[in-house]
Subunit: 791 residues, 2 copies
């Protein structure tokens, strides 16, 4: 804990060696950047597909975001060398590449900026990275101060490696007119049609400063030479940068100022780094962000992040939880919902779940997402694997592999939107089909999606899995056309039940009846074919072999198959008890509940790619937080708020000192996984993916608001039914819902027999408040029995 001093909006790490991969992240409408405490960076922007403007020194693969990103000496980063011109002593801020031990160090990622303060040998370097709202550009400010007792001469040398830009063409030069290093390239192509596609691309990477450097260098090789990055030849023996260019050589933006700093003296710098299409664009960006109103830029960037802070705030006995849920969590939800994870073809499943969280931040985004997803549906009712966000986009990577679960998420997102907004007009919106003329209402689209789903079943009536369901790499269970998904059977039943309520509310009783019948028949089939004695099987393979069952040595029990059995109501009380016990026994780890266990250590050709993934990483037996969030949802569903809270809270556990090196991250976001396989691979268990793209964020936020705090819409009414953990004596929260503001205090009262809800001093009969008035503020007090007394 010593390393992490939290003040709500900003975290602090005071030792760069304690958690080398600890990173903050920023994004805007065009780009995202993840900066490690030591100065390494992972960034990308949309042009319109994801691209990089700072590259590795080797030709890197174009790929989706990978977990546990690996850093190495020449990894892209942003580095600031400081050389004492009298002694020659060199250090670099934030820490790489020199790795000198700082006298004092603080890495402070905030909501809308990332800051560092490094002190070494009487020099303080303060760094700050901000992003503008609408441009792909990094705005860096740097202040170099003499905090010692004598005058100092120092060389200050920002070094922004640009890396291997292109095998076809790359280079760089200093443009005196722009005051910028301009690194040029041509995106490589061979087919002539790609030339025309590439013409608009931002093939330049530039580093512009707010004042002319004394010296500069553009060639990576000339800069480091024999000295290497830790002791660049160009900075040895008091030398100054030679002012070279890069000609089909790896370029870098490197500038030097020789500063004379009196005691207490300081110098401030401002830089813009990023991609550009041409010189005019560089000039415009430099004018805006170097010479423009810097305070206005900062305010706009804060305002952008504030937009995403949501309409919910909690004050509980758990300050760290509050800070996360009030600021960092909605920020993560907003990142997903506002940028679609910076792809042009989000997986339908992700796209709709990211929109799920947005109902609490900007419900009109959720509305648009639902309608867009439905508009790419096939007339058969089939929901596609990915949603194209612009006309040039194509389905890539995993979106080319057939999965069968997408209809479920269309139902869940639509119901969540209705619960929050009660905007029933969305159901009547006329929506096109991707492969047919004419339009139908959204209601018809969703209904048809479920009818399609109900038809894609085997002879038992269980849903076919094709090459995957929610679990992408479970790709060989059903690739021969026979295997079925137990989880999808449950999720289908659940989706049909909730959609039946919508049908009823529209007096479409035939459909409601059909849905209820289907949902219930599916539950019967689940219990007939998938109950294994103490838990539910995950599915049945092409060869008719149930898996995720007690007979399996690896992959014996899957969390999702239990969570959704609870959600769809398949399990009776005896089954519930057995399942919970099995989960505790087999899936619980010190880092959360694993997605399944034991992890696979060898290929199972009737399960698939999943079983070839590293045991304990990603989907193979990890604490996959998305699955854990489903489990929490199921636990709230069966009113086990304490257990649910523990599942959620485990995702945020601030790493204890001993764990920091393992987790390697600050709890600024919920990562998509912590490594599991705790019993098989204890050394690496608990390690974070360091990847903040995950449907977990939306579910976590929704569960805290709608279940833990228990304030949610339901039809025309509002439900007030908190399920706070028993270790909390009280909590307060505030949220807006249906245009009204609710100030809610929840308090445990010893000896109280039942939960009591008072609205504006009036005791509510039950948990339902009807007729919420737009614009009104409600003062709500919830008294709940104290469970402590039972001991």
């Amino acid at each position: 804990m010593a390393a992490f001093i939290e003040n709500g909006n900003r975290f602090r790490l005071t030792d760069p060696t304690l958690a080398p991969a600890a990173a903050g992240y920023l994004w805007n409408r065009r780009m995202m950047i993840q900066m490690t405490c030591r100065g390494y960076a992972v960034s990308q922007y949309m042009d319109p597909e994801p691209r990089k403007y700072a590259h590795a020194p080797t030709l890197a693969a174009q790929t989706f975001m990978q977990p546990e990103h690996r850093y190495f000496a020449h990894h892209p980063g942003r580095f600031f060398y400081v050389r004492d011109d009298r002694t020659g002593a060199l250090f670099s801020a934030p820490h790489e590449p020199v790795r000198a031990t700082p006298d004092s160090y603080a890495f402070e990622p905030g909501l809308s900026d990332i800051r560092w303060v490094i002190e070494k040998n009487g020099i303080r370097v303060e760094l700050c990275l901000e992003l503008p709202v609408d441009d792909a550009a990094e705005i860096w400010s740097a202040k170099v101060s003499n905090i010692g007792k004598t005058d100092r001469d120092v060389a200050f040398v920002p070094y922004f490696p640009v890396g291997y830009m292109s095998w076809m063409n790359m280079g760089g030069h200093f443009d005196a007119e722009l005051g910028a290093v301009v690194c040029t390239s041509v995106t490589p192509y061979q087919a002539v049609e790609d030339y025309f596609k590439n013409r608009h691309l931002k093939d330049i990477t530039f580093l512009a400063a707010d004042r002319t450097p004394d010296y500069f260098e553009v060639s990576q090789q000339a800069f480091e030479d024999e000295g290497g990055l830790a002791d660049p030849s160009a900075l040895q023996a008091g030398g100054n940068l030679a002012g070279g260019d890069a000609a089909y050589e790896i370029p870098a933006g490197i500038m030097q100022w020789n500063l004379t700093l009196p005691v207490d003296g300081s110098e401030e710098f401002r830089f813009v780094f990023g991609p550009a299409h041409d010189k005019a664009e560089i000039a415009a960006l430099a004018a805006k962000y170097l010479r423009g109103d810097t305070e206005a830029v900062r305010s706009a960037s804060r305002a952008y992040v504030d937009e995403g802070l949501g309409s919910f705030e909690i004050e509980s006995p758990d300050a760290a939880f509050d800070a996360f849920v009030n600021r960092w969590l909605p920020r993560q939800v907003f990142y997903h919902g506002d940028t679609n994870r910076l792809t042009t073809d989000p997986q339908t499943r992700n796209y709709l779940q990211d929109a799920l969280g947005m109902v609490f931040i900007r419900p009109e985004t959720t509305r648009a997402v639902i309608l867009r997803a439905a508009s790419q549906q096939f007339a058969s009712g089939k929901v596609p694997d990915g949603i194209l966000l612009n006309s040039g986009a194509t389905l890539k990577y995993i979106n080319q592999i057939p999965h069968t679960d997408h209809a479920v998420w269309l139902v869940i997102a639509t119901c969540a939107y209705l619960d929050e907004t009660n905007d029933r007009s969305i159901l009547d919106e006329q929506v096109a089909w991707i492969d047919s003329e004419g339009t139908d209402s959204l209601y018809d689209h969703v209904t048809r999606a479920l009818r399609f789903l109900a038809g894609e079943v085997d002879e038992r009536g269980l849903p076919l899995i094709a090459q995957g369901d929610w679990c992408d790499p479970m790709n060989m269970v059903g690739y021969k056309g026979k295997g079925v998904s137990g989880w999808l059977a449950e999720a289908s039943s659940y989706a049909m039940s909730v959609w039946a309520e919508i049908s009823e509310s529209r007096s479409d009783s035939d459909n409601a009846k059909w849905l209820r019948h289907e949902a219930s028949a599916m539950v019967d089939r689940i219990n007939a074919h998938l109950w294994d004695g103490d838990w539910y099987a995950r599915g049945i393979t092409d060869d008719g072999v149930p898996f995720g069952v007690s007979a399996d040595e690896e992959g014996r029990i899957y969390l999702n198959a239990q969570s959704w059995a609870l959600l769809c109501g398949a399990a009776d009380d005896d089954q519930k008890a057995r399942m919970l016990s099995a989960i505790d026994d087999q899936l619980a780890t010190p880092y959360g509940i694993a997605m399944f266990a034991p992890a696979y250590t060898k290929m199972r050709e009737d399960v698939g790619r999943l079983t070839q993934k590293w045991p304990g990483s990603a989907e193979n037996g990890a604490v996959y937080n998305h699955a854990a969030a489903f489990y929490a949802a199921a636990l709230y569903h069966i009113s086990d708020g304490d257990r649910a809270y523990r599942v959620l809270r485990a995702m945020l556990t601030e790493p204890a000192a001993a764990d920091i090196a393992v987790r390697g991250q600050l709890p600024l976001y919920i990562p998509n996984y912590y490594r599991g396989a705790y019993h098989q691979f204890p050394r690496t268990a608990g390690r974070s993916s360091n990847l903040f793209n995950t449907g977990t964020a939306s579910w976590f936020y929704r569960l805290v608001i709608e279940q833990m705090c228990g304030l949610r819409g339901a039809g025309d009414a509002v439900v007030i039914a908190p399920q706070i953990p028993s270790e909390w004596d009280r909590c307060r929260f505030r949220r807006t819902l249906r245009g009204a503001t609710f100030d809610v205090s929840v308090e445990r009262v010893p000896g109280l027999p039942d939960q009591v809800v008072e609205v504006d001093g009036q005791r509510l009969d039950g948990t339902i408040l009807r007729q919420v008035e737009h614009g009104r503020s409600y003062d709500v007090k919830v008294k709940i029995p104290s469970r402590v007394q039972q001991d």
Copy 2:
């Protein structure tokens, strides 16, 4: 020159900082490796497509071989740390990553091995890399000797980074039974069909030693930690490797032996490093190469290289030229011809030209290549862009782009094969078509290829260029279907002329007549449409604009358009003189003759990708040795042997001291280019591509043998017509041809009016020796006039 001490079969570099990218290369039937003097490596093997077993630390792109490969701190390499256990002093052999200044250093790439001898602080490390003939495996031997005056305790730590193997699964462990570090991975895939494709792949990389290490480490990160590669934490403070594993972490093969070395004492080690499919394969490789007959392995490897040494040897006043041409050049030709550049879909153009050189080494390979290429020809006569070498291969990269020149190379390769072997049976071989039933003779195939070529012309009768000819990136001259290639007009005319001779020899006079007429008509069109006044245009664009003409500011003059005008006989004496003068004025650089000039510095949308490449690199205005070799061929064709020799010799110029950093290579092979654009970018001009894949090697070898030495087959006879450079007073050479051995001495005789050829003491009437007897040795003396007297 000081840095390069040559002994014919082995070069020597004595300072690793002088030419950091200097590299030797080895290959066998399964793999190739290029090792720099400092320890960095680029290697790949066939499985069946090209794959890597040692990776960068980041997810690298799958791509074709790129020129001017960039090295960086964490680039794959093979490193051997030596730590003095009393003082803690550390160095690494060959040089990286510690970069300690050696007391003595030698890098000695040989024909079938690569050696180093490094001395530092009284310790000598001798390293040797060899490849077996048929396995993808590196065999390393290392000897550590105490050459000082006191006993020494040293830790010897071989470190073989394995890098980022796979995003799906990677790890490693020490297998005590094998005595090997075994790094495992699963080649990533998403589509289920790829699982079945990947199942056979060698997803393991291993390092096995001939004795059990005292300590080991498998995790890259655990090894280097805060110390970094230059001072790994695991080796600091006298520590020993911790014996860890790698679990979804970047693995490395790292072993440690703590040695006590008395004065003059030494220890020897042997390692195998490479890919494997399973443990059994590792065990087999270790048994063969660690515990087997090491001398037999070495002999086999030498024998393999010797197989490729060809049937030609020269002794001239230029010893460096002799060493290159006698050993390194045929070795490079053999590499191409025996491995097809380690691809499964060679470009047809490359495949046939690589086979051209093989006529002097293993003509049966040339024969097989010609027949295979013809068997993939379309029934229309069209020759495909690439030739598939196995049933799973597909056309990739540039082979998916339509080019129009392939027929030309089929003619040239076939004629070269006939000249060398007089094996006319090849012409009657029955060959299938790729898209039609039945077979036809090779003669018919080639003839039909030319008929197809003759039909693919514009209204002027000039050949359409589509998206490229010999020049791949000239992809926008004719993409609209109208642009024509001036070079291809010349090459077509040339090919038709030489094929007319074949037709005549078969008494197919109709065809011969048609070919001669077409060739001659094409020459008329060339002169009508492409002569620009002082040289020939390179082509005419889709919009009817001639380019490569005096009106162009960039790309004014192209070498190929002149060379092939000479070869096809389009130019009269006045035109020749003007062209040669224009070439001297505009294309000559200190590093050879550029392919065109001035290099393009901006996009020309009517020429294409070529103009977007880096000016001076690769095809954009470089000294592209393949084009220079064509020019040399043309110069021999017009009997300008002096100029031709200068063009060829420039490809081998051993870098002068000042150039070493620029060229950065040893003259062990002809690289595909030296950077050109000498007048525009003098700093980088002359820099080598460091890429040994090039059709230049075959042409160079052929020109030396058939033109400079002038001993070649022609129909049933043999021609003896040397064109040695006038600066040579004499030379001797020996070659086998048509089953006979020719020992030829060439001598300049002052005052001699005409060249005189004596065979076994009998003066030959002219230059043609008829009726060569198989098995006989001919003693040939050629006396040529001394040109010096003219001065």
